[in-house]
């Protein structure tokens, strides 16, 4: 009995640092975001005015917010689908096929992930340059260079896809490495017997590889949601500043604009609450929708 108590004290002391840090740096700030969303406050002075749910009432009538909402959802969807497909394919090729210079490709694919988003934005600024950018120069070979240039960052219908491309380029390597790690743990014997039974490579991928790494894929889906929301802010900040005319405004860039540039900190926090609930909800839905019996091997 006495030993049991000493043990729980010991455990308590051991986890205390982590718990305290978690409370100070996670729980309290999150709670404060929720609290501040109920106030009208500029961020500095002491004149906080309690306005109840008024910030949220303004929010549902704010067309600019809905535009940023749409853009974010579009980014999450496109980036997730394309990145997941591509990195699964690359991971499968690199871990199942025998290719010369496998490690070389692995590094090449992973490099964008090490680069800072600002550097990537600078690279893509150069690629998208209307006059002597890489993309327009290549396209110019086929459509003739006398045509007016395509404004990758200037055309309001195109610009969000220009962001999508940059974000996919940045993300592929990271997810590829994650998928490769779990593919490596799939026992070779399964593929051998599939080979003997005459299953082709594509069939092997869908019947063996994919089901066996499914738990990993599910986890990355949550990562996709969170990282798309976070990274889109950095890309927008560095690449387009939300322009032209708000066409690439996303959740967090709009929140920043409202909280700081527009001095409505409370309103910004209300947007923060929506983003919080949205990403939480979306992750939960994705998690539920992809739930399968885990396969043992």
């Amino acid at each position: 009995m006495k030993k049991g108590k000493a043990r729980s004290v010991f455990i308590g002391v051991c986890v205390a640092p982590a718990v305290i840090l978690f409370i100070i740096f996670m729980l309290i700030p999150t709670f404060n975001v929720f609290k501040m969303s109920l106030y009208k406050w500029g961020g500095y002075s002491n004149n906080k005015e309690f306005v109840g749910l008024n910030n949220f009432k303004i929010l549902i009538e704010d067309m600019n917010f809905f535009r940023s909402f749409q853009n974010t959802v579009l980014l999450i969807t496109c980036v997730t689908i394309v990145t997941m497909a591509l990195s699964l394919i690359f991971a499968a090729i690199l871990s199942r096929e025998k290719i010369k210079g496998q490690n070389f490709y692995r590094i090449i694919f992973y490099i964008p992930n090490i680069l800072s988003v600002v550097v990537i934005s600078a690279i893509f600024s150069a690629i998208y340059d209307p006059n002597n950018g890489l993309l327009n120069s290549i396209i110019g070979i086929f459509r003739g260079s006398d045509k007016p240039p395509i404004l990758w960052l200037g055309d309001q219908k195109l610009v969000i896809y220009s962001l999508v491309i940059a974000m996919i380029w940045q993300a592929i390597g990271y997810y590829m490495v994650m998928y490769m790690a779990s593919m490596a743990s799939v026992p070779e014997s399964l593929y051998e017997s599939a080979n003997l039974e005459g299953a082709g490579r594509i069939q092997q991928f869908f019947s063996i590889t994919l089901p066996l790494i499914w738990t990993n894929v599910r986890t990355t889906l949550t990562f996709f949601v969170i990282s798309s929301i976070n990274l889109s802010f950095l890309f927008v900040k560095a690449l387009t500043s939300g322009g032209p005319d708000g066409a690439t405004e996303v959740f967090l860039s709009y929140m920043y604009k409202q909280a700081y540039t527009n001095s409505s900190y409370g309103y910004g926090m209300a947007i923060g609450v929506v983003v919080f609930l949205f990403s939480f909800g979306l992750s939960a839905i994705v998690n539920l929708a992809t739930k399968r019996e885990p396969l043992e091997f």
Partner: protein, 469 residues
């Protein structure tokens, strides 16, 4: 066994203790800091009458004045120099300088914790909008008594030294109630920059009216040169302000800035909207794609490469592009915005940086003294060496070369326009400058019509009017 347990318990305790070490030292610091402040405050109180009574205080007391200054294109050296000169003329005062290009990021965390600088030099219109936020929160100290103070070391009052007109604008009296909250600092005329060398070479006259401008646009287009470009839409604030003042006069301009009902749909405002729409047709085709913070220099480069003729900007542009390659025979030209009404006068918006004292500043009397000192000849000359020109009569005479030409714009018949939108309580989701200027991108790319733009501006104006105090 037991020893092992004791050791592990000790280890855990050390870990926990070291974890709190960071917090601990801070709590120890805190009372000390408070003591400091109280003594400082006491000192200030003692000092105040002495400072008012002019000349050196009877006994020298140590004071620390915290000055935070934005490091703009003029560089940081002039601030250290001015601070040193201030310390020399005010024995016992130590100026603690914070200079940064991203000043907001440096000072706002401690401001949120209640530790305010005594004097801040930071203009309005920046992205983080710290100045505007404090204004909207009524957290600034009125500078009325600073204007009545005598400039340290001289026998002129501050308000008599500042060029007339600079103190009657919404950029110094943000609430529009005649009370000055921002001290006008370095000013810079904004207008249209062009390559004077190109116009000379082609034999084109510098247009003085918008008709001549469009004619030049057509001539230039035939040679593959666009008439107009802009760095980012942010530069349309100065352009629009000048055009508004030119279209309807200064009263009209002030009504626009104070969100008078229907003012943005009036005939005079419509002229300005249509002017920008016409200009959009002559805008270089790739401008929109580069009109962001990352690529705006590519648009400015168009001027240097003779691909576009005019570009709205401020006098910092030649400095900003000093290292850039340029066409042969390149020569900066600078002109005001041509008159919107035939026969009227051209206008140039005069942009200036502001200095202010937070209401929560601890050392307010010395802060006021510092602001007053900014207008002394001594300080003005230090600033002028870095081409930072204050609105003090005669200071622009110190300039030479191109800079002299830029500052002489008002001597050549252009009317100076000053001010900016009146401060209101924050209105969630409404950003006037974004609506007024940001939309220009959509006008150029054809995504929005002038009517939609005008309606959106009027709507924003309506919402902001309701929030004016």
């Amino acid at each position: 066994m037991k020893l092992k347990k004791v050791i592990s318990a000790l280890l855990v305790m050390t870990m926990t203790a070291s974890l709190f070490a960071g917090c601990g030292s801070k709590t120890e610091d805190a009372p000390a800091a408070t003591e400091d402040t109280s003594t400082e405050a006491a000192q200030t109180e003692e000092e105040a009458p002495a400072a008012d009574a002019e000349e050196e205080p009877a006994q020298v007391e140590e004071q620390v004045l915290k000055v935070a200054a934005f490091e703009g294109g003029y560089g940081a050296d002039m601030w250290s120099e001015v601070a040193a000169a201030f310390e020399a003329s005010h024995p016992g005062v130590t100026v603690e300088l914070t200079i940064d290009k991203k000043l907001e990021d440096v000072i706002s965390p401690s401001m949120k914790a209640g530790d305010y600088p005594d004097v801040v030099h930071l203009a309005t219109g920046r992205e983080a909008a710290l100045t505007e936020t404090l204004t909207k929160e009524n957290a600034l100290l009125p500078l009325t008594d600073v204007l009545e103070m005598t400039v340290p070391g001289e026998d002129v009052k501050v308000k008599d030294k500042i060029i007339p007109g600079f103190l009657d604008t919404l950029a110094t009296n943000p609430y529009g109630d005649g009370v000055t909250y921002y001290a006008p600092m370095f000013y810079s005329p904004c207008g249209l920059f062009y390559n004077a060398g190109l116009l000379k070479e082609k034999g084109w006259e510098v247009p003085t009216t918008w008709e001549e401008m469009w004619a030049l646009g057509d001539t230039a287009a035939a040679e593959g040169i666009a008439l107009f470009t802009y760095p980012t839409t942010g530069y349309f604030d100065a352009f629009t302000y000048a055009a508004l003042a030119s279209a309807g006069g200064s009263d009209f301009f002030n009504k626009c800035m104070t969100y008078e009902d229907g003012i943005w749909e009036s005939a005079d405002a419509t002229k300005v909207f249509e002017l920008v729409a016409e200009l959009a047709k002559y805008t270089e085709s790739t401008t929109v794609a580069n009109a962001n913070n990352d690529n705006f220099t590519k648009n400015q480069q168009l001027i240097l490469d003779n691909k576009a003729i005019f570009c709205p900007n401020g006098t910092w542009l030649p400095g900003e592009m000093a290292e850039a390659p340029r066409a042969d025979g390149f020569e900066w030209g600078f002109m005001a915005i041509p008159a919107v009404n035939a026969g009227g006068s051209g206008c140039s918006f005069c942009w200036f940086e502001q200095m202010w004292i937070p209401a929560a500043a601890e050392n307010q009397d010395m802060a006021k003294e510092f602001v007053a000192y900014m207008y002394s000849d001594e300080a003005a000359q230090i600033f002028a060496k870095s081409t930072a020109i204050q609105p003090i009569a005669g200071v622009s005479d110190y300039l030479e070369g191109d800079n002299k030409m830029f500052y002489s714009i008002y001597d050549n018949g252009a009317t100076a326009v000053m001010g900016g939108f009146a401060a209101t309580a924050p209105v969630e989701g409404v950003n006037m400058l974004d609506t007024l200027c940001g939309t220009v991108n959509s006008i150029v790319s054809g995504d929005k019509t002038v009517a939609e733009w005008q309606a959106a501006v009027e709507e924003a104006s309506d919402k902001l009017r309701a929030a004016m105090e």
